[in-house]
C-alpha cells in the first residue's frame, strides 16, 4: 500500500442504470481505523454506493482509489480481471442476506478463499478459520452447515469469512436488516468489538442508535447525493440539511 493516507478515496463518482442517474457526484474518503456509517432511506443509493465500490455494480464516472490502487478514473482506465480481483481483496463485504455457501460447512466457507485465493495450505487455513470461528463463539459448530444455524449465527460466519482474507476495510450492507430483532444485538456487538480493534469499516445501516454509538463519521444520503456529512453529534443532534431532519424524525 502506498503512502496515501486514505484507505478509500472517492471523487465525483457517478452511476446510472440505463439513462437514470442514481449516484450523482459522490465524494468522500475513509481513513485508516475509521468507522463510517452511511444512513438514508430506501432508494437513496447507499447500498448501490457500497456495491459499486465493491465491483458488484458498474461505475459510470468519477474516481475510486482503494488503498492507493485506482479502480476507476475519468481517463478511461482499463484494468485486467486479475488486477480488479487484486483490488477487491482490499475489501471485505458482509451481505444483508449472508450469502454463505449452503453446500459447505461453515468451516469450509471460511477456508475456501484462504486455500484458493490466498493459496494457504489446508492445515494453516483450518487453523485460521477455527480461530476466527472461536472469536465469533462458533468454534464448536465448525462442522455445521449454514442451514442448521440461526440468522445471527450465519451473519457471524459471514463476518468471519470476510475477515479471513485480512481486508484493509470491511463493508457491511445492512448487516442486521434480515435478522429478527432479538438477534440484532449479537451482530452489533461483533461490529463494536471490531471497532475497538481499530478495523476500518463502512457500515450501511438502519440502526440509528448503533450508528451514533460506534461511528467516527456519518454520511446521510438522499436521492443519490451526499446530503449531509459529519460526526455523529453533528449529523444526529444538529443536522443542517432539512432533508436530514425530515429523515431523522422517523426514528
Amino acid at each position: 500500500m502506498s503512502d496515501n493516507k486514505y484507505i478509500i478515496e472517492v471523487n465525483n463518482l457517478e452511476k446510472s442504470y440505463g439513462d437514470t442517474l442514481v449516484l450523482k457526484d459522490i465524494s468522500f474518503s475513509v481513513s485508516e481505523g475509521e468507522v463510517l456509517s452511511i444512513i438514508g432511506s430506501s432508494g437513496s443509493g447507499k447500498s448501490t454506493l457500497l456495491r459499486a465500490i465493491n465491483q458488484l455494480e458498474s461505475i459510470e464516472g468519477g474516481e475510486v482509489i482503494i488503498c492507493g490502487d485506482t479502480l476507476c478514473n475519468n481517463n478511461n482506465l482499463i484494468l485486467s480481471n486479475e488486477e480488479k480481483r487484486k483490488i477487491q481483496l482490499h475489501n471485505g463485504l458482509v451481505f444483508q442476506d449472508f450469502n454463505l455457501f449452503p453446500h459447505m460447512s461453515i468451516l469450509q466457507n471460511i477456508t475456501e478463499a484462504l486455500i484458493y485465493v490466498l493459496k494457504k495450505d489446508k492445515k494453516e487455513a483450518k487453523e485460521i478459520a477455527l480461530s476466527l470461528l472461536d472469536k465469533m463463539g462458533l468454534k464448536d459448530r465448525a462442522a455445521a452447515y449454514p442451514s442448521q444455524l440461526s440468522g445471527g449465527q450465519k451473519q457471524r460466519v459471514s463476518i468471519a469469512r470476510a475477515l479471513a482474507l485480512k481486508p484493509n476495510v470491511l463493508w457491511f450492507d445492512e448487516p442486521t436488516s434480515a435478522l429478527d430483532p432479538e438477534l440484532t444485538g449479537e451482530i452489533l456487538k461483533v461490529i463494536k468489538d471490531l471497532a475497538k480493534e481499530k478495523m476500518t469499516m463502512v457500515v450501511v445501516t438502519h440502526e440509528m442508535a448503533f450508528a451514533k454509538e460506534i461511528s467516527d463519521r456519518v454520511i446521510f444520503m438522499d436521492d443519490g447525493i451526499i446530503a449531509e456529512e459529519g460526526t455523529p453529534e453533528e449529523v444526529f443532534d444538529n443536522p443542517k440539511n432539512p432533508r436530514t431532519k425530515q429523515f431523522l424524525q422517523r426514528f
Binding site: Q55, L56, N99, F101, A113, Y145, R161, A162, L165
Partner: protein
Amino acid sequence: MTHLLIPMLEGTLVSVKIFFFTLLFALPLGLLIAKAKQSRFWVVRKLINTYIMIMRGTPLILQLIFVYFAPYYIFSTSFDRLNAAIIAYVINYGAYFAEIYRGGIQSIDKGQYEAGKVLGFTKAHTFFHVIFPQVIKEIIPAMGNEVITLVKDTALAQTIGVAEVFRVAKTASAREFSTTPLFIAGVFYFIMNAVVSKVFDRMEKKLSYYD
C-alpha cells in the same frame, strides 16, 4: 431357452452400450451448450436456440435416420450404424440436458456469485466450486427422468438396423411364434430403469445434507 437368452443378452449389451456412451458425451455437451446459451454474442445464442428447438421439436427417430443417411449425400460416406446411433442420441440428449442445466443454473441465487466475487474467486472457480455443486442437487429429479427416458429410447436405434434388445426380441418372437421374447425384453428395460432409479435416489439422499 438358452438359445433365446444368448442373443437377447447380446442385444442387451448393445442397448447398454448406446446408453452408456450417450451419457458419457451428452452430459458434458449439455453443460457446454447451456453455457453457450449465455454467450454475449447474439449469433451464438440464436444458433444454440435453433439447435435446441430442432432437437426437442422433431422426433428422435427422424434424427436417427438423418444422422445415419444424410452424410452419404453430403460427404459420400456413412458412419457405422452404432456410431451413427450414438451420435444422434448425444446430439439429441445434449439439448435436453442443456435445458435442465440452464434451469438449475438460473435457480441459483445471484448472491452466491456475488459472494464469490467479493472473496476474490475467479469466475471459473465460483462456477465449479460454488454454483455447479448446487446445480447438481437441484437438477437430480429432472435428470433422473431424462435418463430413464434414454433407457427406453435406445429401442429406436433399430430403425437404422442396430441390433438392440427390442429388435432381437421382435425377431425371436417372429421365429418362435410367441411373445415371450418381447416380455423378456420388457423385463430388461424394467431392471435397467430400476437400477437407474436407485442410483438417482441415492444421489438425492447423499445431497440432502443441506437444504
